[in-house]
Amino acid sequence: MTKFRELSRHVLGEGYSKWILLLPSLILLAFFAVPLIALIYRSIGPDFFANTLSRQAFQALKLSLVTSSITTILAVIFGTPMAYLLARGKFKRKAWLELILDLPIVLPPSVAGLALLAAFGRRGLFGAYLNEIGISIPFTTAAVIMAQMFVAAPLHVRSARIGFAHIDKQLEEAAYVEGANQWQLFHEVMIPIAIRALASGAILTWTRALGEFGATILFAGNLEGVTQTMPVAIYIGFERNLGVALALSVLLIFVSVVLLMITKQLDKEEE
């Protein structure tokens, strides 16, 4: 606490002027903290553990963890090479490619859900052909993963791209002089150096996938154990069982806090 005082004195100076910075910050902090505290406060009650341990809550938690983990693995497998190309490759229309990859980050998830339906729905641009060979994607667990992938994978690509871009060019040249080929360079030099940026990107993707709701409910629907992830269960719980919704919300906050703390730690070590 005294350390904090010293620091704030250093940054903000003495007297009333420091409030010019402090007051807006405190109001904003309260704006974020109060609802979260209120949510946790509301959820505490005799039924909290019964709600957390209910079958619906357990199934939703399991489905959320499984789908978001698969999404993260897929995002790493497909996203890392792409991030490398974006950071190191020289080609035309790179700005356009980056724009397409950044778009899902800023789009409302409901737009993502509609877009996925338009592409992979039974009557969709691509889904119609799949349907003819007997594959139907909407309302399946695969649809949940695709929805998460669409909104969350770009976060990994972005983080990994920045990680690769920061690597010294001379290192790359040195590896070539040593006789390394493209794959060796990527696999034995670049990945180990950028590993923290990759990990932090993967965790960001994971937290975003865990929280995915809008695209999921439009594209995958709501069926317990198949497509009802935690955020969907919270939304449906708002209809009937507020207790389960509150308990699940607290659980989701807890998991997200743990994941964010790991990312913070990785970023710190990076510096």
């Binding site: 039974r122 449906i236 708002f238 507020l242």
Partner: protein, 264 residues
């Protein structure tokens, strides 16, 4: 300095928005109505008619699943009138003192119907076909009134068609949607082979085929409407409810496929 076109567009939109907010209508009164999702089309039309009869009055609607509306009212949403798709939510609000006892009136009834995409991809021809293995059904979730009535109707069909019918139908569900309009949309898009909704929704939605449910297997939803105790526009709220129950209001409801509660 050269500004990107997107920025200029944004700036214009911003100015327009400021202008709209800055010029309120003189002495305007706003009536806030929370209504079940199935009432969307009919109430929007009634709201426009009500506004034209009462100059200076603006009606604002929030259409959602009745349960979500009940929760929002209990959490303190400022509402003047509540119209629910079943008595359960209204009863809960009476117990919570949000609605005065005896204040609620039934203003319409609504029956169930099976809807199919226009081209009927699963080639369903009768109610019994709902049990055909492998078809994709999208129902409203059990938590919302229409979902509850759907399952009650399935109980009646189960007794009539032979046991196991209900379980076979339930096994075909691919999604339990949060409100009835979502069921209509998923069937319209052809993502589902069939859904069960209110008759009014099948009339409101285009591109739909349907299979009727006979009266002995059907469940009629009774919709109650009531003013809220905390309403700041009690008089206007009473007028609106009166308008709903008038010949004009009931005619609009009938037009959208509801069975009026009053006969004129």
């Amino acid at each position: 300095m050269k500004l990107p076109p997107a920025l200029i567009l944004f700036f214009c939109l911003f100015l327009t928005a400021c202008h709209t907010f800055a010029t309120p209508k003189p002495q305007s009164r706003t009536l806030t109505i929370f209504a079940a999702a199935s009432l969307t089309d009919a109430f929007t039309e009634i709201g426009t008619a009500f506004e034209s009869f009462n100059p200076g009055v603006t009606t604002t609607f929030n259409f959602a699943g009745s349960q979500a509306l009940q929760t929002q009212i209990e959490e303190g949403a400022p509402v003047d009138v509540f119209a629910s798709a079943s008595g359960r939510e209204m009863d809960a609000l009476v117990i919570g003192n949000f609605v005065a006892a005896e204040a609620a009136q039934v203003f319409l009834t609504n029956e169930l119907i099976v809807i199919l995409p226009a081209d009927n991809p699963a080639m369903l021809g009768s109610l019994e076909d709902l049990a055909k293995p492998g078809i994709k059904l999208v129902f409203a979730s059990e938590e919302v009134p229409v979902g509850k009535y759907t399952r009650q109707a399935l109980d009646l069909m189960d007794t009539s068609f032979g046991h196991g019918f209900k379980d076979m139908v339930l096994a075909n569900i691919v999604s339990n949607e949060e409100n009835v309009k979502q069921v209509v949309t998923k069937v319209q898009l052809g993502e589902a082979d069939a859904g069960i909704v209110y008759v009014s929704d099948s009339i409101a939605g285009s591109n739909l085929n349907s299979i009727g449910i006979s009266a002995n297997l059907n469940i009629a939803a009774k919709y109650p409407i009531a003013p809220l105790v905390k309403s700041k526009n009690a008089e206007l709220a009473a007028q609106f409810i009166e308008f709903i129950l008038s010949a004009e209001g009931q005619a609009v409801l009938a037009k959208w496929g509801f069975a009026p509660a009053k006969k004129f």
